[in-house]
């Protein structure tokens, strides 16, 4: 941690992390499109209604993960970036889940 990296050295280190190339990006976009299509499709299938919420949340979580890991490079970047994002993000999830439970589930138990 103490090494005093010069700009050039930093640049090299950056290259070594290796952001993915255009090929990967397009593949990810393709998967994102397919998942979105699947989401819309399942929303129209009446027999899936009881489990619709679970399917949709899983699918959108997958999309979310793809964008964050590949397009925002968290898969390849320093863990510190993931940390400063995921710590607040986990609290954001907590807020959504807690409020839905408090307003929508507990009053009907």
């Amino acid at each position: 941690m103490a090494d005093n990296r010069s700009g050039a050295a930093h640049e090299v280190a950056h290259q070594e992390h290796g952001h993915p190339g255009a090929r990967t990006y397009i593949m990810v976009a393709l998967v994102l499109t397919i998942i979105t299509a699947a989401e819309v499709a399942v929303a129209y299938v009446p027999s899936l209604r009881p489990v619709l919420a679970y399917i949709l949340i899983t699918l959108s979580a997958a999309k979310f993960a793809l964008v964050v890991m590949y397009y925002m490079h968290l898969k390849f970047d320093s863990r510190i970036f993931s940390g400063v994002f995921l710590a607040p993000f986990s609290l954001a999830l907590l807020v959504v889940v807690a409020l839905v439970i408090l307003f929508k589930l507990i009053p009907f138990v």
């Binding site: 941690m1 954001a92 907590l94 307003f103 138990v109």
Partner: protein, 604 residues
Amino acid sequence: MATAEATIQSGTTAGSKTGLWSWITTVDHKRIGIMYAVTALVWFLVGGLEALLIRIQLAKPENDFLSADVYNQIFTMHGTTMIFLVGMPIAVALFNYIVPLQIGARDVAFPRLNALSYWIYLFGGIFMNVSFLLGAAPNMGWFGYTPLTTEMYSPGLNADFWSVGLQILGIASIMGGVNFITTIINLRAPGMTLMRMPLFTWMALVQSFLVITALPVFAVALFFLSFDRFYGTTFYNTMAGGDPFLWQHLFWIFGHPEVYILILPAFGIISDVLPSFTRKPLFGYNMVVYSGVLIGFIGWGVWAHHMFATGMGPIADSFFSIATLIIAIPTGVKIFNWLATMWGGTIRFNTPMLFCIALVAMFTIGGISGVHHGSPPADLHQTDTYYVVAHFHYVLFGGLIMGLFAGFYYWFPKVTGRMLDEKLGKWNFWLFVIGSNMTFFPMHFAGLLGMPRRIFTYAEELNLATINQIITVGGFLTGVGVLVFAWNVIRSLKKGEIAGNNPWGSHTLEWATTSPPPEYNFAELPEIRTREPLWDGISSVDVTGPPKAPIHMPSPSFWPILTAASINLALILMMTEKWWPPVLGVALVLLCVINWAYEPASEH
């Protein structure tokens, strides 16, 4: 693209820039820290004056010193001022001045953003208090419960000032939080690993995480309130399906982490001051760090204990009650760490140390009454009585204010180069300890005897007069303590004993440089190898003196103050109840930000 930077060549003396313009355009973390401190102390006097007005009114039964409406405005502004204009900004003042010095940085990560935070805070504070001139200060309590704050029940400007003013202040806090997190993670000197950081810096880091996570929730709650009032949305309008509980939940999701936002800096201060005055390292450094982080996280899961009286039902009550009782554990861990640090130390009872001892004692009392509220059956009886008022004044005055004053006495020599007077300091201390305990301890009894909070007067038959008179006398004693402090500061600025670099024989890095430090803080820094660098070989000789190589410092800029003014304007324009004025305001903000980003650079 090069940066706006001024270069300090070896031999030039820093701090030669003076005059009003240099303060308006400054991006130096030390100057901004001083401006934060002075501004917050002015608000502290205002908030204190409001407290004394409350105490005069309550000194005898059926008093008519203040009307009910004025009383409502005074207690609302007392709470709002003390939390948003004093508690948070004074901590930020100390972060600003001390944290870069403690980690061996030349400035914060984003110096201009830092200046922006300050100006937003200054203008926001002024805006909120302008309401007094219009006779329309906020008057619905510092947590602004809906539907009381909706247009129907608060048709005046009072709640407008409150919702817009706090929105403004929140923006300043969030930007400050981002700045400090980045600074602490990224600008540490070589060898200053996370687990070698001084505790004050650690608590600044945890506190900043709480700020950037809790404040956005409050911003949303406030936007809902403002939009309900100005643009006819129905978030808190029960007739359209709105639910007042939404406000309570959003408010306390912010409001409970806020409690830790206020207290963690004080925990940081005491954890740095105690080792200096006991001549031994902090007992259980790791435990103090981890318990601080744990408090930060658990502090996010206890908010609804403010709402036990709303009838959430047994499941929610049990969950939040258990979480609340659990958070007492890491807090207790800290108390024992501090006690163990003092145990067997060579204690010097200077003023900063005295304030720390008061913090440990009084925060423990406040913590224990907090555990009482954590139990729903007990809380049902205590809600909205003076018992609650006693509790949070013990943690906030006994914890936060005692801690901050320890910090003032401790760091004043670093900031000004002169010591605060010890004799006046001890007067200040004893007036605070006796005054505040006389004020807040009897409040427990007043509360248990059934005196509700936020009531402008009480009937003689309730037999509350004696208790209230004692409380009022205590309040005025505390007020005298504040005056002694003010006199001490004014006097010591001119006549105080010259401090030298490290008057207390402390262990952390800020004491290695000169008092006050040069603009660039350290001429150069050797690698940090321990938690107590000044006790382990690093001395002033290593870090002061003329810099050997040119040092690049950020140039002053007037964009922060202009951007701050336009952000304030954009939000205040919501009060026109039309959509286009704030949109124009946002456009102005955007214009400022673009100019800021492309500010002409000086090559180096």
